[in-house]
């Protein structure tokens, strides 16, 4: 099963992320890759560089970022695992690094299963 983990930041201290944190994140990514679990991941540039295409009331509107939400989506990771709990464990390790290495930082990681061939399997 594949799980997409998205990270949204809810509160970020001033200044760049500590170098320790970046190094720990890199190491964890390497570990998850070498464990065969992490398939793909990347950081996302601020929404001020993005845009939104919206459908409301039958009308399409395109607006440039930044988005108004308080939570900015800043990264994603795609895992191949056997259970939801495994994906949760990897996500917890990732979030725990932020707790330990960047005081004051707050975030939330959503763990979502991707549909796979099993969701479209013919009835047995």
């Amino acid at each position: 099963m594949r799980y997409l983990v998205t990270l949204k930041v809810t509160s970020q201290p001033d200044g760049p992320p500590p170098a320790d944190l970046m190094e720990a994140i890199f190491k964890l990514g390497q570990e998850a890759t070498e464990a065969g679990a992490l398939l793909d991941n990347n950081g996302l540039a601020p929404s001020s560089e993005g845009a939104r295409v919206e459908l409301a009331g039958g009308r399409l509107t395109v607006s440039d970022g930044p988005f108004a939400e308080a939570k900015e989506l800043i990264s994603y990771a795609l895992y191949q695992v056997r259970t939801k709990e495994e994906a949760v464990e990897w996500a917890s390790r990732f979030v725990r690094l932020h707790r330990d290495l960047w005081p004051g930082y707050e975030c939330e990681a959503d763990v979502l299963r991707l549909m796979g061939p099993e969701d479209f399997a013919p009835p047995a």
């Binding site: 890759t33 070498e34 464990a35 065969g36 709990e85 464990e89 061939p117």
Partner: protein, 426 residues
Amino acid sequence: MTLADSDRAVKAVEAVWRIESARVIAGLARMVNDIGLAEELAQDALVAALEEWPRKGVPDNPGGWLMLTAKHRAIDQFRRRDVYERKLQQVGRDMEVRQESAEAELDDALDDHIGDDLLRLIFTACHPVLPAEGRLALVLRLLGGLTTEEIARAFLVPEPTVGQRIFRAKRTLADKKVPIELPPPAELPARLASILEVIYLIFNEGYAATAGDDWVRPSLCEEAMRLGRILAGLMPGEPEVHGLVALMEIQASRIPARTAPDGSPILLLDQDRSRWDRLLVRRGLEALGRAEALGTLGPYGLQAAIAACHARALTPEATDWERIAVLYRLLAHLTPSPIVELNRAVAVGMAHGPARGLEIADALLDERALRDYAHLPAVRGDLLAKLGRAGEAAAEFERAAGLTRNSRERTLFLDRAAALRHDRGC
């Protein structure tokens, strides 16, 4: 705590176990120099976790917790053994010293070279003294963290059979005093080939069931790919490891496209390529690039290169059949086999016309190894059909249908035969 909470905690323990068990067992195996004992100690730690974590919560460093707990069990064992030996030999003076040095050694053993420990465990579990089925079961159990029941289900055999295989494999390793170590350089290529073979067997077991109606059991494919990626991380300088990873990723990319809604198989050239998993294709091509950058491709790398020719073609017509034919020739040179030759016949038939392909296929008619192989008549049937020899082609597909053990494949062959007879008006 509610039932749901405790259920969640148990599942969290299982998740950690799956992520960490191989490393814990590998570290312990080096300490106690016995795979069976290492697994028992690790299992003890798992039991302790299942008792403690649901009450106290999952620790911050669950892998470290498992390792430490297992280590303490190992030290207890050493102590007991030490006491026993001391009584036996009537010497007690150096007990403390020895105890301390043993514990220091344990610390070293667990903290250093986790990667090396894992590699040693993989090489030992895939040791050639073990039969293939024993290697498979041991690898899935020790490296994959699968239970005996899960392995049994995946391989469609009774659970006690798998238990026996694991038991016998461990006993063989102990009886033959197989050391838990990396092979000497001279033996490395053969020993590595043994590991790659096991991983690819696991993959193929998932990719195509040889008998019965279950065409794909993707979870075994995922397991094999995970093992391959782990090995690639441990042996980044071995082109064949990357070659095997590339082969598996590219083959697995076709899983969503190779079965019709009614469960019947769809052949490569008839597949809806928009359903191929582009992420796996990309990962496969990257792994192939790593293999190529390291030197000459071996058998897995060549097969991956062939698979890559298909993966790169956005339409079947865009397939570089000439390159595929050349790659099959190289593969036949490295690993001569009538099946490789049969595949070459298909590629040559596509690149240089069905008559040339049929020449190669016809040369295989006397091969004993292919006497009951359904795909020889199927390939000949396809080439004959392209040459307009419909009657002969239909007879070949009927022969193929009589030989295959896969019921869905049988239907496919019979349909082709019927269509050919229909077109011919008989």
